[in-house]
């Protein structure tokens, strides 16, 4: 693999490239990190979608889509996510490398130009985003929020997160609320765009079969024309665990229940970072692999859940156990999950289980380097880490974790919130 190149283009604008011709494609992602605040979340969330639909040069959705199609189905897409207590607004361009085109087109050069145009030179009318573009993205964002209701697994996870982290930045939805999106105006969103360019922490990633230097140059020039007022983002704060478990439930016409247990670990990139590898391994032993305790015992042996797994988020130090459970089994399943947590805390797992979790984790880190999207995600989630590791370096860290360190990491894990999605029948009883 080629070397990772990292540098700072300007204050708060970081550029990272991992160029490798083993890929047939390339990706350029521009990620704007903004503080996650209730009053700005909705306007920010609309932005990447507004910016990726057209630009001064390709002034409507069809003109932009035709340009993308002529570049071999290249993509200009948008996303909104959360990392720690920040909202991440992403505009992403990707396509096949020039060497694989049918007529030798310069796909990378063209896409860089289109991407810069989209971010810095959108279609404005009297200084505001155009009404029809704004209405279109507002409608689609509302539909996106509504669609999350249909995915019960995701719905339950989100409800657990917002219940558990109410009052914390992480508890704010990446799209803001439905009402907030509904109440947006062109003025607010246009202002959010200006604020984003001037104040956000920007992480630009260039990956795959592409020469990164011209891309860096293009962004250096584009950001050079912006007056920046960058202030570094505050690190996430970690709330202590609740003394009494918080319980919440919703009732819908569903055939199978969902239960999500929200846990606080006290270990995150900003808090005891040296313990993060041990915590990752703890999560794998507990419920991250098919040889984990949640899979082998709660699902396979006890047949309590159709799925049951744990996922640890190192940027905020939270762990969520997600499960699909029959309504009648929810209490039993909760007790069984907690019993397995206790087992890990007491070191009650075999050396074999421990080695298997380690091997699975190390193996999965090595495969990150074979996927552009995985690589991008890998570096993005380390934006606030005190030290940035390559997947290979991280695999070595995991390899060095001892059993005792896993037990020590587990000791700090405590149950904070239990969320259940139940059926309508259950409500009547």
């Amino acid at each position: 693999m080629n070397q990772i190149e990292q540098n700072t283009l300007r204050d708060g604008i970081h550029f990272r490239s991992v160029c490798d011709t083993k890929f047939k494609t390339f990706r350029i992602s521009v990620n704007f990190f903004m503080p996650l605040k209730q009053k700005t979340a909705a306007a920010n969330a609309l932005l990447p979608y507004m910016l990726s639909r057209c630009s001064s040069e390709y002034p409507d959705y069809t003109a932009m889509s035709k340009k993308m199609a002529s570049l071999y189905g290249a993509s200009l897409s948008a996303d909104v996510g959360k990392v720690g207590n920040t909202q991440v607004l992403t505009v992403l361009a990707g396509g096949i490398a020039s060497r694989y085109t049918l007529q030798g087109e310069d796909t990378a050069g063209e896409l860089t130009r289109v991407l810069c145009g989209a971010l810095f030179s959108p279609v404005l009318e009297n200084g505001l985003f155009r009404e029809e573009d704004f209405r279109q993205e507002q409608r689609q964002t509302l539909e996106q929020i509504d669609a999350e209701y249909s995915d019960k697994r995701l719905f339950a996870l989100k409800r657990c997160m917002e219940t558990m982290c109410a009052g914390e930045a992480f508890g704010i939805d990446r799209y803001g609320t439905r009402d907030e999106v509904q109440a947006l105006t062109r003025e607010k969103v246009t202002q959010a765009w200006k604020d984003m360019l001037a104040t956000a922490r920007v992480e630009i990633a260039v990956l795959g079969d592409i020469d990164a230097a011209p891309v860096a140059k293009a962004f250096e020039k584009a950001f050079g024309a912006i007056e920046r007022h960058y202030e570094s983002l505050p690190l996430p704060k970690s709330a202590p665990c609740r003394s009494k478990v918080l319980r919440a439930a919703d009732h819908q016409a569903v055939a199978q229940g969902k239960m999500v247990l929200g846990m606080r670990t006290g270990i995150a990139q900003f808090q005891k970072p040296e313990m993060v590898p041990a915590m990752r391994l703890m999560s794998a032993v507990f419920g991250g692999t098919p040889s984990s305790r949640l899979f082998l015992i709660v699902r396979e042996q006890m047949s309590l859940c159709y799925y049951c797994s744990a996922a640890y988020n190192a940027t905020n130090g939270l762990m969520f156990v997600q499960s699909g459970v029959e309504f009648d089994n929810m209490q039993k399943a909760e007790a069984a999950v907690l019993e397995q947590l206790k087992a890990v805390q007491q070191g009650d797992f075999t050396d074999e289980d421990f080695e298997a979790a380690k091997l699975a984790l190390v193996d999965s880190y090595h495969t990150v380097e074979d996927s552009l999207s995985a690589l991008e995600g890998w570096y993005l989630t380390q934006t606030f880490a005190p030290k940035v590791y390559s997947p290979e370096e991280y695999a070595a860290l995991i390899g060095a974790v001892s059993r005792e360190e896993v037990v020590q990491a587990a000791e700090g894990v405590c149950l904070d919130t239990v969320y259940c999605l139940k059926g309508q029948e259950d409500k009547k009883q």
Binding site: K24, K66, G73, Q252
Partner: protein
């Protein structure tokens, strides 16, 4: 040792090898020395639609409960010595899984190290069935839960409702996992019978992609593949009329916005060739892709959104159809617009810009697919069972002409074969 034939894909500078092993197994090996990972898939040409079949050595058609292929997939992970297959993989660090589709069942793993040890495990457990009454009973409970989970998935419901509106007899309309009632009829004896019939190596294929050496893969195959009786089996389907069952199916579900599938049934006596499949992909891109006039009209009218509107060519043994899907407050209006657009293209043809851009898009998507070992392995196996070839795919797309695509449209997406399925709040 079997002799390897190289399949070159010059346009993308790639190649892979294929051979038929003396045991009867078709083997594909695709070395990618720069890759950190490897991905192997061992599959059988046997899926949920195979609930009736005729073996060459038997007169009668055998009928088995719906959902048995998927049930068998679950049960294959248990072994006679009591050591679960996942526990065996745990020693190599591989990430293992399996899936059952309408027409195939595949077992797979991905890993970055210990690839030959993991391959040994894969070849071993898939060839060794072990079922007892007790383990079958337990699985009936677990799969019952899986079926209920899909009951809550509106995108699953809306697809099967559409297939039900389309097919009179073909089992593609049945849920891959079967129903709680049908899986209750599954016994260890039936599972052994299906394994013996469909998991014979002549009916299977193996594909390994990634940082592997062909000689070493073949050495593991020589060691692990067990000669087996060549069972010839024919898929059996009751006669399926050309007509649809009903043009519109509407159901209630737990959704916030209505979801829809709009499909066009096709004559599926013969499967599409690599070239025909490429023509259809390009047609769909031209008619309904992001750059199309149809997409723009639907978007401007607030009838679809970018994140869910999609189209695909969905075909297999005895079934073929073009599908449009998405979310919409008025799916009937979307269907009417789609009909209008197809009629117009059928009458007036595509513009050169429309065709060339669609072709480039499909070509670009296919080239991108070569990044992923997983995509390649599943693609090679899928193409092989369908009688097609991944090696020919890139060239087919690059050489499709506008006239060919337009000609293909004369036989596809006919208005009398359309079915609209909606799940609304």
């Amino acid at each position: 040792m079997s002799s390897l034939q190289e399949r070159k894909i010059d346009r993308v500078g790639e190649s892979y090898f294929e051979t038929r092993h003396s045991s009867g197994l078709k083997i594909f090996i695709y070395p990618k020395p720069q890759s950190h990972s490897a991905y192997a898939v061992f599959g059988t040409n046997y899926g949920s639609i195979d609930n009736a079949f005729r073996r060459a050595d038997e007169q009668e058609v055998t009928r088995v409960p719906n959902g048995i292929a998927h049930f068998l997939e679950h049960k294959m992970f248990e072994n006679e010595d009591g050591v679960d297959t996942f526990a065996r993989y745990a020693k190599t660090g591989a990430n293992a899984n399996a899936y059952t589709t309408f027409d195939k069942t595949c077992y797979l793993f991905s890993c970055s190290g210990h690839v030959y040890d993991s391959l040994q495990i894969l070849l071993d457990f898939v060839q060794k069935p072990y079922f007892t009454k007790q383990t079958v009973q337990k699985e009936q409970g677990i799969i019952g839960q899986e079926i209920r989970m899909y009951d809550d998935d509106p995108s699953w419901q809306v697809l099967f409702n559409m297939l039900g509106g389309m097919y009179h007899t073909h089992p593609v309309k049945l849920d891959i996992a079967g129903s709680t009632d049908s899986i209750a009829k599954i016994t260890p004896e039936l599972l052994y019978e299906c394994h013996h019939t469909f998991y014979n190596l002549n009916n299977m294929a193996l594909c390994v992609v990634g940082n592997v050496e062909p000689d070493k893969v073949l050495a593991v195959c020589d060691k692990m593949l067990r000669p087996c009786e060549k069972v010839q089996v024919q898929r059996y389907f009751d006669p399926e009329p050309q007509s649809i069952v009903k043009p519109r199916v509407c159901a209630k579900g737990s959704v916030a916005t209505p979801v829809f599938y709009y499909g066009f049934k096709e004559d599926a006596a013969v499967r599409a060739t690599t070239r025909e499949a490429a023509q259809t992909e390009i047609l769909l891109q031209a008619i309904s892709g992001d750059a199309s006039a149809l997409f723009r009209r639907l978007l401007d009218a607030g009838l679809i959104n970018e994140s869910s509107f999609d189209s695909e060519y969905f075909e297999g043994p005895g079934y073929a159809n073009v599908l449009f899907s998405g979310e919409s407050k008025d799916a009937d209006a979307v269907a009417a617009e789609i009909q209008k657009e197809i009629a117009s293209v059928r009458k007036n043809g595509l513009s050169s810009e429309q065709f060339e851009n669609a072709k480039k898009s499909v070509y670009g998507r296919t080239v991108s697919g070569f990044n992923s070992v997983e995509n390649l392995a599943n693609g090679i196996i899928g193409a092989y069972f369908a009688g097609r070839s991944l090696a020919e795919d890139v060239e087919a797309i690059a050489s499709v002409t506008e006239a060919e695509a337009e000609q293909r449209l004369q036989k596809q997406m006919l208005p009398q074969n359309a079915v609209l399925s909606i799940v609304e709040p």
